[in-house]
C-alpha cells in the first residue's frame, strides 16, 4: 500500500474560530479509488475540515498533499485545479438556468457560450452513460427533483475533471430509493478510479458504502478504521465517547380514546400553492402517530395548522371540540389553551429566540400563564428563572445555566430546552417535528425516551420526521405523506423502509 501515494493526505490540520478549536491536529490518508466516510456529530468539525480542503477556510496549521504532492489550497479555484470537487448539502445551482447551463457556469471555454454548451452536451452524454448519471440537459433546475439536482452537482464536479469528490450529507434530502441510486453512482465512480469522501452522521450509510471510515469528535479525529472491521455500535461509541443505545426501548402501546381527529384538511399557502390536499387521520391517547415523508410534502404545513399559525379549511377536532382554523381563535395561544403543545420542526427559527436567555425561552408561548405573572402588568422573572432551573435539571440540559443565551447551547441542548417547555405543560396532544434534527446521538437517545414516556402517560403524539429510522422505531402507527396527501397508513411491525420509501416517492397501489 505504501507504493501508491494517497489521493489526499492531511497532516496536522488545525483551525480555530475565536475560542473554539474546530479542528485539532487532524491527519488523514485517503487512498485513490476508495470511498472514505467521515462521521461525527454536529459540530464535530467535519464540515470545517472539508471547507479547508476546498479552500473556503485557511488552516491555522498543517499541510495538504494531493497525490503525494504538497498543495496549497487558498481558494476553491485552486481546489478545482487540484482535482477536488465538492457537492454541498445545500445545492449551489441557479434555479432558472437549465441543467446544461448550470454545468457550464464558471467553466466556459470562451466568451461565446454556444461552443461551450455543445461540448458540455457531448460530455454530459458520455458521463451519463458511464456512471448512470442520467439528467435531462435542457430541463430547468427549478423544475427537476432534488435527486436530479444532486446529480447535476456531481456532474458539475466531473465536468471540471474532478478526481476527488467530496459529498456533504448527500442523503439528507433524498428518498431511500434516490439514496440507493446515489450509492450506485458512487460505486460506479469508485470503479472508474475516483476517490470519494462521504461526510454523514448516518451510521447506516457508512456501513453500506464506505471502505474506510474516520470518526471525528470535538474537532479531533478519534479513529480511522476499515468499515468491514467495525460495527454501528462501535462507531456510535467512538462518536459520542460512551456506549449508546441505538434502539428505542418501548412497551406495546395502550391505545385510549381519540384525542385528535383531522377530516378533509386543505392548506393553501400565501403563494397560492396547495400544500395539504384533503387529508384525514386521527391520533389516540397513548399512541404515537408517525408521519413519514420527504421534506416539503405538506408535513410542515400540517404542523403549522395544528400549532395555530397557518390557515386551513376542513375540520380538526381535539378532545371532542372543533378547532377554529381561520378566525380569531386560530393562533398559538388558543391552541395551547386547548392542551396542544408543539415542538416545532425548526427550533432556531420558531421554537427558540436565539438571543434570549434560556429562562426567557422557557416562558416562550406560555408567557401568559398565571404561574409566570407577578401582577396584572408585570411578569415574574424570578419564578421563570426558578422554573427553568428545575426543567434544565430534569431534562439534563448542559450547561444548566438559565442566564445563557439559547444560541450558546448545542443543538441537542437547545432541543431539550424546547422539549422541557412543551412536555412539562402536560399536554393532551404533543406535536413534534424533526425531534432529533441536528441533535447529537447522545441527546437523541434521551429525547426518544422522553417522547415514549409521554406516550406511556396516555398522551397523544403526532410525530413528523424525515428520518425513516426514527419513524420506524418510535411510531405505533405510520402515515406517509407525499405531495400533500396521505399515501397510506402502515403498522411499523408490518412494514419496512423499502415499502415506506416507495410510498414516500408517491408510488402506491391503494389510496388512503
Amino acid at each position: 500500500m505504501n507504493d501508491i501515494a494517497p489521493a489526499i493526505e492531511l497532516k496536522g490540520i488545525s483551525k480555530a474560530f475565536g475560542p473554539v478549536q474546530a479542528n485539532k491536529d487532524i491527519s488523514i490518508r485517503v487512498m485513490p479509488g476508495t470511498i472514505h466516510g467521515i462521521i461525527g456529530e454536529n459540530g464535530a468539525g467535519k464540515s470545517t475540515l472539508m471547507s479547508i480542503l476546498y479552500g473556503f477556510y485557511k488552516a491555522d496549521a498543517g499541510e495538504i498533499y494531493i497525490s503525494g504532492r504538497k498543495t496549497a489550497i487558498p481558494d476553491s479555484q485552486a481546489a478545482i485545479a487540484a482535482g477536488i470537487g465538492m457537492v454541498f448539502q445545500h445545492f449551489k445551482l441557479v434555479e432558472n438556468f437549465t441543467v446544461l447551463e448550470n454545468v457550464v457556469l464558471g467553466a466556459e471555454d470562451s466568451a461565446l457560450l454556444r461552443p461551450s454548451l455543445a461540448r458540455a452536451r457531448r460530455e454530459l452524454k458520455s458521463l451519463a452513460e458511464e456512471y448512470e448519471l442520467n439528467v435531462d440537459p435542457d430541463a430547468l433546475i427549478e423544475e427537476v427533483g432534488v435527486g436530479m439536482q444532486q446529480r447535476v452537482e456531481i456532474l458539475k464536479a466531473l465536468y471540471r475533471k474532478a478526481d476527488i469528490l467530496i459529498l456533504d450529507e448527500p442523503t439528507g434530502v433524498l428518498t431511500p430509493a434516490e439514496a440507493d441510486h446515489l450509492f450506485r453512482i458512487l460505486e460506479n465512480l469508485k470503479r472508474e478510479g475516483k476517490t470519494i469522501i462521504l461526510i454523514t452522521h448516518k451510521l447506516r450509510e457508512i456501513m453500506e458504502i464506505t471502505d474506510t471510515v474516520s470518526v471525528m469528535r470535538r474537532g479531533e479525529m478519534t479513529a480511522t478504521v476499515k468499515t468491514s472491521e467495525t460495527s454501528p455500535p462501535a462507531l456510535a461509541e467512538l462518536m459520542v465517547g460512551r456506549k449508546v443505545l441505538l434502539q428505542v426501548d418501548k412497551a406495546p402501546a395502550t391505545i385510549g380514546r381519540e384525542i385528535l381527529e383531522v377530516k378533509n384538511l386543505n392548506v393553501t399557502d400565501d403563494k397560492g400553492v396547495h400544500r395539504v390536499k384533503g387529508i384525514s387521520f386521527d391520533v389516540h391517547a397513548g399512541e404515537i402517530l408517525g408521519i413519514a415523508g420527504v421534506a416539503g410534502n405538506g408535513q410542515s404545513e400540517l404542523l403549522e395548522v395544528l400549532g395555530g399559525y397557518e390557515k386551513a379549511t376542513g375540520t380538526i377536532i381535539v378532545n371532542g371540540e372543533e378547532l377554529d382554523l381561520t378566525g380569531a381563535k386560530s393562533d398559538g395561544q388558543s391552541r395551547r389553551a386547548r392542551g396542544i403543545s408543539h415542538v416545532p420542526e425548526d427550533r432556531q427559527r420558531e421554537g427558540l429566540i436565539m438571543d434570549f436567555h434560556a429562562w426567557e425561552n422557557t416562558a416562550f408561548g406560555y408567557h401568559h400563564d398565571a404561574e409566570y405573572q407577578r401582577s396584572r402588568l408585570f411578569m415574574d422573572n424570578a419564578a421563570i428563572r426558578k422554573d427553568t432551573e428545575e426543567k434544565m435539571a430534569r431534562f439534563d440540559v448542559r450547561p444548566p445555566d438559565p442566564s445563557l443565551a439559547a444560541k450558546s447551547f448545542s443543538g441537542g441542548n437547545q432541543q431539550k430546552i424546547v422539549l422541557a417547555r412543551e412536555i412539562e405543560q402536560n399536554p393532551d396532544l404533543l406535536l413534534i417535528g424533526q425531534p432529533t434534527r441536528g441533535v447529537d446521538i447522545g441527546a437523541i437517545e434521551f429525547i426518544h425516551q422522553q417522547i415514549v414516556a409521554l406516550r406511556d402517560q396516555g398522551k397523544a403524539i403526532l410525530l413528523v420526521s424525515v428520518e425513516l429510522e426514527e419513524i420506524l422505531s418510535l411510531s405505533d402507527r405510520i402515515a406517509v405523506m407525499f405531495d400533500g396527501k396521505i399515501m397510506g397508513e402502515r403498522m411499523p411491525q408490518n412494514t419496512d423502509e423499502k415499502e415506506l420509501g416507495l410510498l414516500m416517492a408517491g408510488m402506491n397501489g391503494e389510496t388512503a
Binding site: 475560542p19 420558531e350 421554537g351 429566540i353 405573572q373
Partner: protein, 363 residues
C-alpha cells in the same frame, strides 16, 4: 459566549467613538485656523460651566430623551421609526389645542392634560404608517419619512389658519398663564441665589426621566415588552408562540409615536409657550442617533441624550463667541453621530479581535 465583556460593549465602544469624533473635529477646527483646545474649553464652559449652561443642556437633552426613547422602543420590535420629527410636530399641535382651548386651573393639571394630548396626537400620527406596515406591508421607513413632510404641511395649515394669532407670524397665540410650566429657575430659586436664570429647562425633564424608567420596566419587566422583544428578534418564532405581528406593530408604534409626541410638552408648552413653525428643529432625527448610541436601552438613551444636549448647547456657544461658522458646528455634531451611530462596527471589530487575542493569550 460573548466575545467582549459587557462593560466594553456598553462603555468602551461609545467612548472610543466619541474620542475619534473629537479628534477629527479638532483637525477640522485646526484646519480653519482656530484652536481646538480653546474650542473644547468654550464648549465645556458654555454647556456645563454654569447653571445657565446646564439649563440649556438639560433642555435639549429632554427633547432628545423623548425622541430617543421613541426610536428605541420601535427598534426593539425591529421597526425603524424615522418619523419622530413629524410625530413631535403633531404632538405640538395636540399640546397647543389642549392649552389654548381648555381653561386649566393649575399648571400641574395642564401638564397632565398636555402630556396626554401630545401622546395621543403623536400616537395617532404614528398609527397610520403602523397600520400600513402591519396590514399592507408598506415599509415603515418610507411611510414615516413621508409623514414627516405631511406633518409639517398640516402644521403650516393650522398655523396660518384656525390656530393663528393676530399679526404677521404663523404661530398660535401665547398659551394662558395657568398652563406655563415651572422652569428650573422657578424651581431652584433659594432667595439670595437663583440657579438656571433664563434657561429653558423645565419640569418636563423629570417627566422625561420618569419616561426612561417606565420604558425600561415596560421592555424588560412586562408581558408586552416580552412580546415586543420576541417579535423584534424573530417574527417566525413570535408567530409560533401565538404573538400577533399586527398587534405588536400597532402597539409598539403607538407607544413610539406617543413618546415622540410628548417631546412637545418640553419645547412647546415648557419653552415657547406657544406653537411655532418647525418647533421640533431636527430633534426627531437626533433621536435616531441617540437611540443607536444608547443601544436602545432607556438608560443608555438618557446618557446619549445628555451628550447630545451638551453638543447642542456647546455648539451654540461656539457659534456665539468664536469665528467658527455655524455650519462647522453642524459638521462636528454630524461627526459624533457618524462615529457613534453609523461607524459602530469600525470600532467594534478591532476591539473584538483585541479581546479575543487577550483571551487566547490567557489560556
Amino acid at each position: 459566549m460573548d466575545v467582549m465583556p459587557k462593560w466594553a460593549d456598553v462603555i468602551l465602544i461609545p467612548l472610543i467613538s466619541i474620542l475619534l469624533a473629537a479628534i477629527l473635529s479638532a483637525l477640522v477646527i485646526l484646519a480653519i485656523g482656530e484652536s481646538p483646545w480653546a474650542a473644547l474649553k468654550l464648549m465645556v464652559d458654555g454647556a456645563l460651566g454654569s447653571t445657565y449652561g446646564w439649563g440649556y443642556t438639560l433642555y435639549y437633552a429632554t427633547n432628545f430623551i423623548f425622541t430617543g426613547l421613541a426610536v428605541s422602543i420601535a427598534f426593539h420590535a425591529r421597526l425603524f421609526n424615522i418619523g419622530g420629527e413629524g410625530q413631535a410636530l403633531i404632538g405640538g399641535l395636540g399640546v397647543a389645542i389642549i392649552c389654548l382651548f381648555i381653561p386649566w386651573p393649575h399648571w400641574s393639571l395642564a401638564l397632565l392634560g398636555a402630556a396626554i394630548g401630545a401622546a395621543v396626537f403623536g400616537a395617532a400620527w404614528a398609527a397610520i404608517p403602523a397600520f400600513l406596515q402591519a396590514k399592507r406591508g408598506s415599509h415603515i421607513v418610507i411611510t414615516t419619512i413621508m409623514f414627516n413632510f405631511i406633518a409639517a404641511a398640516v402644521l403650516n395649515y393650522f398655523l396660518i389658519g384656525a390656530l393663528k394669532a393676530p399679526g404677521m407670524e404663523p404661530a398660535t397665540p401665547k398659551f394662558p398663564e395657568a398652563t406655563h410650566l415651572p422652569s428650573f429657575q422657578d424651581m431652584f430659586n433659594f432667595g439670595e441665589t437663583t440657579f438656571f436664570r433664563g434657561a429653558p429647562a423645565n419640569v418636563t425633564f423629570f417627566v422625561a426621566l420618569a419616561a426612561c424608567v417606565a420604558l425600561w420596566a415596560l421592555i424588560w419587566k412586562t408581558r408586552l415588552g416580552y412580546e415586543i422583544r420576541s417579535f423584534g428578534h424573530s417574527e417566525s418564532a413570535a408567530k409560533y408562540a401565538g404573538i400577533s405581528p399586527t398587534k405588536i406593530i400597532m402597539v409598539t408604534m403607538l407607544i413610539s409615536g406617543a413618546l415622540a409626541g410628548m417631546m412637545a410638552i418640553n419645547n412647546v408648552q415648557g419653552e415657547a409657550e406657544r406653537l411655532v413653525l418647525n418647533a421640533v428643529e431636527g430633534a426627531g432625527f437626533i433621536g435616531i442617533a441617540v437611540a443607536l448610541m444608547g443601544r436602545s436601552h432607556p438608560f443608555g438613551v438618557l446618557l446619549a441624550a445628555l451628550l447630545f444636549g451638551f453638543l447642542y448647547q456647546g455648539g451654540a456657544e461656539l457659534a456665539l463667541w468664536t469665528s467658527i461658522p455655524r455650519e462647522l458646528i453642524i459638521v462636528i455634531q454630524a461627526l459624533v453621530i457618524l462615529f457613534t451611530g453609523a461607524l459602530d462596527n469600525m470600532v467594534r471589530m478591532p476591539l473584538e479581535r483585541l479581546f479575543l487575542a487577550m483571551r487566547r493569550a490567557k489560556t
